[in-house]
Symmetry: C2
Subunit: 326 residues, 2 copies
């Protein structure tokens, strides 16, 4: 087990929440269409003048406050977003500024698209275990609304903006990561993507506005995930040395109703154990998993002494799972 | 000391090399102008149909070949570029594909802009030390040519395209990271940047072509780096428990002639110890540091048993330093 202790979680969402009924009105859909298509009642949408890093910083400040910590108590900030705020520099630099971290606090990004938080949590545990740092903050923030293509109902209606933060320490060894597994299948690299914004498509290299919008082949993602996930989870559980019946809370990436239903089907755990915030948040990209974790922790569903399973799929295609003894 | 052993390094550059004389001709500068302004004799420039991840994969294949390893010998791929290939998914997914890594090999990115390689090396050492992985590949690849603004002589002439890869194992404990330090000063976040490509400026949110070009306030970077670097290096050396006279090779980020000269000035080591590839490569962004490391290793300047100092500055502004016993 890699020792790590969850000290605090935090969350931030934009002030504006948009219901599916409002989207029906705006796009001339029949009443009930967006809810039925997306499974989302309402999602948060950032104002044009709110930045991804400001939202991320607000989540970190929420976590700090809740743990009675100061910004100066953070040794290292790991940004764990899926899409960056700028192509350069890394997003954690902007989050560090808005969160008021003391100048000189190191800040880098870990990116495994929608599973950035899980990868960053694993990285943080390693860097705490070897004594490199004492207290690490992980912040995931994504503004899906800046890139959804409203001509694609499937990929536009399910998303929401948001941010979440987690603060971790090494702990005394009684809590930690019991098992962790991540697997990337590049055959799915174009199933979920924003082609523009990097070195491949930009005004210099040639690009069209559509390149900067998110595109998803939902069927392709689902087909690949369904193919690899069952064996992947078996291997994760085997590595953990415990059974699913010994898992208290399941925090899945809130990808889509289809994805959540598939997770529930292959997991064989009571539905009450699975944390679901999709209806009220939508898919918040990389912020989805830590926001669901935050809701589980703040509501008392996930408590010290309990065992947690986090799992999900990410653009790439990457699948990931982690068993944490809290 | 965090145990880690350098198993192999690799490098890749585009086939086309552009001399400063050619740039003089193309932009109507007087003969010698570009060389005098930039300090670069020639830099490599990728063809429009070559991708960042293809170049990164070529560097990884070079490292694999040199170590007599197969793609299946890699447990984890860490992409360590400054600018991504696409806004989504992470660049390591594309590198994994082109390098022929077996489907399922986990692949995520670490981003500390120009110091991504150093941060990824530190992360890899941690993840090897706790037994999570047996052999990790770190790949840095950047195509600066896709974003330089030729109206800004200072920031356009100094860059070159390139990629480098490093393969690391845990080793037997005789080699490793003796000291590591990174510090981020967000006051410099706009000194080196590409504003577009993420959630802040894009066609949805509003952007102009100039937003996708690299802009640099060279004086601002230099002023901030000069202010923080001396004390930073003192702290790094103090942490290492050794003196600069016990360092065999210095591999600095090949930022600029001014940056390299400043490093040489504050370091107080014989100039022959400092690896410089700037004249023949330019500043290769995140690929710069590992390419210089590769040149030091392949040429026999850095050998097992020797002590290495890596250091540099990065957009953010981030400064970093690491002492590695090879």
């Amino acid at each position: 087990m890699i020792p790590v202790r969850l000290i605090a979680t935090g969350k931030a969402v934009p002030s504006r929440s948009v219901t599916s009924a409002e989207i029906d009105l705006e796009f001339g859909h029949p009443p009930g269409y967006t809810l039925q298509k997306s499974g989302v009642q309402s999602r948060f949408v950032a104002a044009p003048d709110q930045s991804q890093s400001q939202l991320g910083a607000a989540a970190l400040q929420d976590a700090l406050q809740h743990a009675n910590l100061q910004p100066s108590d953070i040794d290292l900030l790991i940004g764990a977003c899926a899409v960056p705020e700028q192509a350069l520099p890394n997003t954690a630099c902007f989050i560090a500024l808005h969160a008021g971290l003391p100048p000189g606090t190191p800040a880098f990004d870990v990116n495994a698209s929608c599973l950035s938080f899980m990868a960053a949590f694993r990285v943080a545990a390693s860097m705490l275990a070897d004594g490199g740092y004492r207290r690490i903050a992980i912040v995931s923030s994504d503004l899906a609304s800046r890139g959804v293509d409203w001509r694609e109902p499937e990929s536009s209606m399910i998303f929401g903006d948001g941010a979440a933060a987690v603060i971790v320490e090494r702990g005394d060894g009684s809590s930690g990561i019991r098992a962790y597994k991540m697997a990337t299948y590049p055959e799915g690299r174009h199933h979920c993507e924003i082609r523009g914004g990097g070195t491949e498509r930009n005004p210099r290299q040639g690009s069209v506005p559509d390149d900067y919008l998110f595109h998803m082949d939902g069927k392709g993602v689902f087909r690949l995930a369904v193919k690899v996930m069952p064996e992947f989870l078996d291997q994760l559980m085997a590595e953990s040395g415990v059974g699913l019946d010994q898992v208290d809370v399941v925090v899945p990436h809130q990808a889509s109703p289809l994805g959540l239903a598939h997770a529930a089907r292959i997991l064989d755990v009571p539905d009450a154990k699975i944390v679901k915030i999709f209806e009220t948040h939508g898919n918040q990209v990389a912020a989805s998993l830590p926001t669901a974790l935050h809701e589980a922790v703040r509501s008392g569903r996930a408590m010290p002494g309990q065992r947690l399973l986090m799992m999900g799929t990410a653009a790439g295609l990457t699948v990931g799972g982690m068993i944490v003894d809290l």
